[in-house]
Amino acid sequence: MANFAEAYKLGLNAANKAKKSKEEINQIFYELKKQILEATDGKISVMRTRLPDPPKLGIISPLKRRVLGMTESSSSYIRELHEINSQIDEKEIQHWAIAAENLLVKNSEKELARWSQDRGGYPCKIILDSKTMYCEDKVGLENALTKLLSDPVVGETLYRLQNIPLPEQVSTEATTD
């Protein structure tokens, strides 16, 4: 007979381990947020959040970029993709992301990378541009986040966010004039 009691105990242990892993991951993101806030005088916050998927036609954009001398067959492939995509319900689909926002500017949220996490906590997955980084443990995640922050495109995004003109400043300047 199946040993359900043993399975139940295993499940409890797994749940406990998953809880600890998730707390550890939350703590890493808390520390990340704290340090970036300190480094940007309280302006920039980095967090995990759900963002809408880009329009479906995005699928073919790498192709468009690469294929300049497009053959007839590849053109028909793209047409086919357009047709399939147009048939898909336009209901918004969301994904998890690591994003940053300027706390002084409303709706300034920008995606830095895609994020996913196993039901048990680890592994986590960060997709930065074309790079996929699996993170197997605490140090692995910290190292991957360090790579994320030192990426030039992410750096540029954070720089731009930090330097968005504040709405109040714009209106003040307008009054002065």
């Binding site: 790498p62 192709l63 690469r66 294929v67 053959t71 067959s73 590849s74 028909s76 492939y77 086919e80 592994p123 074309s130 790079k131 996929t132 980084m133 699996y134 993170c135 197997e136 443990d137 140090v139 692995g140 995640l141 190292n143 991957a144």
Partner: protein
């Protein structure tokens, strides 16, 4: 139509360390030229290679019909040491994706994924190029070897639209593990059983199970020119031969579409002149190139 794929660990620059002489680099260039232009290979992935080696190949080889893709950017303490050439009229590159696993302070390089489309057919093919750490850096019982297989499997499932059915996937590389090792046979699920792979489309088929031993049976009269694997370990005590270099196919190429594996044209490339260099203890070369072919077959016959 036929598409041919070759993987070759050139031994030129292991872990990005430049160690080859000009003469050795020149020899690699002549092999590359032969494979691309005489054998008409459509996709050639090279391992243990650096920017300098690629530059030499681009200068010395006839590459008018080919495009090159490489990404030697540092990842943790090491960097990817693979690149590939592909025939642009037969393969259209859509994107490339380096895949790593961060565990503690180590960064394991799982694979570089290249997404292609076959022009004229509208069929996507995902090629995963891997060069896994050697047994010296990651011993045979290390949990990391399992992890390499698990994460490669995850990455394949990521590009597969259906959970129980894999996309058109071809894996090429030097896994520093043999077909029977758990990383490949268990975690990656690359089986020797072709019939089972056809019935269970979540499995991959590894034709390199048949290249574990000498290619020719023993006979008293034979001249010893056959090979017993893809890697020759000059100081091996129990065996000097290992089958580390492999090309593995998703079951999609075993009859689920009109594109099939041609197993007769899949194996180890044994060039006489190169074999002599591999056996020579003064030479750096120790890996044979391996090749695999898929072709379009009219299922209606």
């Amino acid at each position: 139509m036929r598409l041919s794929f070759v993987w070759w660990n050139t031994s030129l620059s292991p872990a990005g360390r430049d160690r080859a002489t000009d003469e050795q680099r020149q020899f690699v260039c002549s092999m590359v030229n032969f494979m691309l232009n005489k054998m008409q290979i459509d996709f050639l992935a090279l391992g243990e290679i650096t920017n300098r080696d690629v530059k030499a190949i681009m200068e010395k080889c006839e590459l008018a019909e080919f495009d090159t893709e490489m990404d030697f950017v540092k990842n943790g303490r090491s960097r990817f040491d693979t690149c590939f050439f592909y025939r642009r009229d037969k393969l259209m590159l859509l994107a490339t994706h380096p895949i790593t696993s961060n565990k503690g302070n180590r960064t394991l390089k799982i694979a570089q994924r290249a997404d292609f489309m076959i022009p004229g057919y509208g069929i996507p093919v995902h090629v995963f190029v891997s060069h896994w750490p050697s047994l010296l850096w990651c011993h045979e019982n290390s949990a990391d070897r399992h992890l390499l297989g698990v994460r490669l499997r995850d990455s394949i499932e990521d590009v597969s639209p259906e959970r129980e059915k894999l996309a058109n996937v071809i894996l090429v590389g030097d896994y520093n593990d043999e077909p029977f090792d758990a990383s490949l046979a268990e975690q990656l699920m690359a089986t020797r059983d072709r019939e089972l792979a056809k019935r269970k489309p979540h499995l991959l088929y590894n034709p390199f199970w048949r290249h574990l031993g000498f290619s020719k049976p023993y006979s008293p009269e034979m001249t010893d020119d056959s090979i017993g694997g893809t890697y020759f370990h000059k100081n091996g005590e129990i065996t000097r031969w290992r089958t580390f270099d492999q090309i593995i196919f998703s079951s999609a190429f075993l009859g689920q579409t009109e594109w099939h594996l041609n197993e007769e044209l899949t194996g180890v490339l044994n060039f006489e002149e190169y074999r002599a260099k591999i056996i020579d203890t003064n030479e750096i070369f120790d890996h044979f190139p391996v090749f695999g072919v898929i072709e379009e077959v009219d299922n209606d016959g």
